[in-house]
Symmetry: C2
Subunit: 425 residues, 2 copies
């Protein structure tokens, strides 16, 4: 592999990082409406134009800066005001600052000794968000995305009813079904398979004209399956469905769940950010009745990717369901109270710190500013997809807090212009 260059000195590294920061400021962080969201290339063209190759020898710092420039050039600027393609966007400078600090510390959050500030901060934020949901709420965990949180909730529901599954598996359980909206997020099906329940155990409930679960359909299904000696395990209600932003009637669903002994999980990955909105908090009425909830602060609250929370009403359940007591991490003879080591309630071992950016944005009080912008916009819904019997429609998601009314007019004008393509010049 040839001769190696001597390791560059601190000055060389510092100089390099300073150039990188300047590049990011000028080309990514502080984009304006005059810049492009994306310089579109087809995959085949980008494979020719961008040098993906990993050679035998290291590149010079000058070349590496050019590589970074090209990466930015052909990437989507998700913080651009005209990026309204997905349920996240908007680059918040406080969130970015916190993420850069997190990276520099390169913490993995499993024990107090390795991540003292972040371990206590996670618990503080979980407690605060639990309080915003309801006084009886007990615990939570950060997840690598809402899909994983939804899957974890399904497992908690199963363990809560059949605790033997942790040790001896699901083989001696009765047949189980779970109920969710026909407009639910696809992660419910993926994780039903992963957990050994199977996609067929997920029973899709009818939705009304605005996309909400019809509670009567739920109860009729529960009775139907009970009559077949199948155990109805849980309901996954959605607050903010992926496509139409519908909020299922959680209070009514909860009453049916309580009557028939079902776990209620609320997928509020999208809508849960309304906890922070005085004006729209009522959209979440009934959420406090759930047994578990997923909320993604990286969506509506514009925290940088990723920041996803699974909240659980029962304070002890995450630990009893997930703990394993590995001695090399969670020694019981530590020189501090090992109750602060929360790692064993997680399924992940090494885990990137996702709390600091959320806590820091909250400390800087960015959320209320977002709230105000949302209030001015109202709720609108650019993506396209087929919806039931209708042809493709454009899905406009206005979570981006830097959007103005003029921007929306601009985008709508452009939709007409560009016809069947998604990207704006």
């Amino acid at each position: 592999m040839g001769d190696f260059k001597p390791l560059p000195s601190k000055e060389l590294h510092k100089n390099f990082l300073e150039k990188v920061v300047e590049l990011l400021f000028n080309t990514v962080v502080f984009t304006t409406r005059k810049d492009k969201v994306l310089l579109w290339r087809s995959p085949e063209d980008l494979l020719k134009e961008f040098d993906f190759e990993l050679g035998q020898n290291g590149e010079s710092q000058e070349k590496l800066i050019q590589v970074l420039k090209n990466t930015v050039k052909f990437s989507v600027k998700t913080g651009h005001p005209y990026f309204v393609n997905q349920l996240f966007s908007g680059l918040d400078p406080y969130g970015l600052a916190a993420q850069w600090l997190t990276d520099a510390l390169n913490a993995s959050v499993y024990t107090y000794e390795v991540a003292p500030v972040f371990t206590l901060m996670e618990q503080h934020v979980i407690n605060e968000v639990c309080k915003m949901v309801g006084l009886e709420w007990g615990d939570g965990m950060f997840c690598p995305g809402g899909s994983f949180g939804n899957g974890t909730a399904i497992n908690l529901a199963r363990f809560s009813r059949f605790p033997q599954v942790k040790k001896s598996g699901s083989k001696n359980l009765p047949d189980l079904v779970m109920f969710t909206s026909e407009e639910c997020h696809y992660s419910i099906f993926k994780f039903a398979s992963f957990l050994g329940l199977g996609e067929e155990a997920v029973i899709k409930l009818k939705t009304d004209e605005v996309g909400k679960i019809v509670p009567d359909d739920l109860e009729q299904n529960i009775i139907k399956y009970k009559d077949k000696n199948v155990v109805p395990l849980m309901v996954v209600a959605t607050m903010g469905t992926t496509v139409r932003g519908a909020f299922d009637p959680v209070a009514e669903i909860s009453a049916i769940c309580k009557k028939h002994g079902l776990w209620l999980h609320v997928d509020a990955a999208w809508g849960g950010g309304l906890l922070f909105s005085q004006r729209y908090r009522t959209k979440l009425n009934g959420i406090e009745l759930a047994d578990s909830i997923v909320i993604n602060p990286h969506k509506l609250l514009a925290v940088p990717q990723q920041c996803s929370l699974l909240l659980v009403r029962d304070k002890n359940l995450l630990h009893s369901c997930h703990s394993r007591g590995a001695e090399y991490l969670f020694q019981r003879d530590k020189y501090y109270d090992s109750k602060y080591d929360v790692g064993d309630k997680y399924l992940q071992c090494g885990r990137k710190c996702d709390v600091f950016k959320f806590w820091f944005m909250w400390k800087a009080k960015v959320a209320p500013q977002i709230k105000m912008v949302m209030a001015n916009h109202g709720s609108v819904m650019l993506n396209y997809q087929p919806l039931k019997s209708l042809p493709n429609f454009f899905r406009f998601v206005s979570q981006n807090s830097s959007l103005t009314r003029n921007d929306i007019d601009f985008i709508l004008d452009h939709i007409a212009e560009i016809g069947d393509a998604l990207f704006l010049d």
Copy 2:
């Protein structure tokens, strides 16, 4: 919530971010041996000394800078040469630069249109690492940690043998067992529970005096369970066990797996980085015989947290096992070849880009430099834990590439001085 301040201008944000970068350079990125790894506080003291509270109003930029300073002050500097506590450490400036760019672009990697460069780059890196394992290797995915990768491999093994499990679940499957070292990572047990197999389905194999699986014990167990009409599903071999760094004899294990029809997964989260070492590549001999492999570049290769790869020999398996075809993301009538949209082979939906830092460090060719440092150090093993019949021992993990021989002498001297405490002053 009181009056809101007007949104600060670009200049205010830029000025803030510049101060943050300067702070990080001076207190985290460029630490020296004179700085402390950690200013130790007990959890109770840190709760008093650090202001975790989230008030009703936003803080000033001056106060926020102070918050960042305190966060750094009480956090562990994982890049410090004397941080040898866990299986990751060392802050690489190219890795950090790449992570900062990733954050600024705030990409989520599921479709080509949203993350064109990173989608193609993931496939390029997966292909390159597959080639380094063996020519027949076909596919892979980035995971939020090695635990998740190991769990995914268990599910792939089950799906590969019993494809009906995706739709109809595991309820009609025969009783299953899987085999792994008694010194395996605890994630195997956590995910066996999560997947509905149960901890008891994980049969622990004996290890020899250096911590390797005894192949004869494996074969005897396979025969024993077959005789009981239990299906031996798979073996999880470990290349670089968590505590002792043992490498299981994978070639011998593979022969037994092939003879009896078992899936072979290799947990090389720790040892897999040796793919990049000319001198120690032979430690991985036999890895090419596996059906799936987990490798964590954030460990031995010092890529910033997190970067974890699951490789799969069968090119089509990830897609057939995980796909769901959600129409709002993976439309079939796109204006580019939708084979470039890899998101549906994942269990995650939104997903942080973990490839760029790895690719960029590779482009800068940091890995061979690490390799040279490793060669100079040899393999040593600071953590403590009980090991079989022995009392606690200190576990010295020398993955940190900025360690010198003098550092190790310094640390060993300090162990004697500090007796039963872990942290170095």
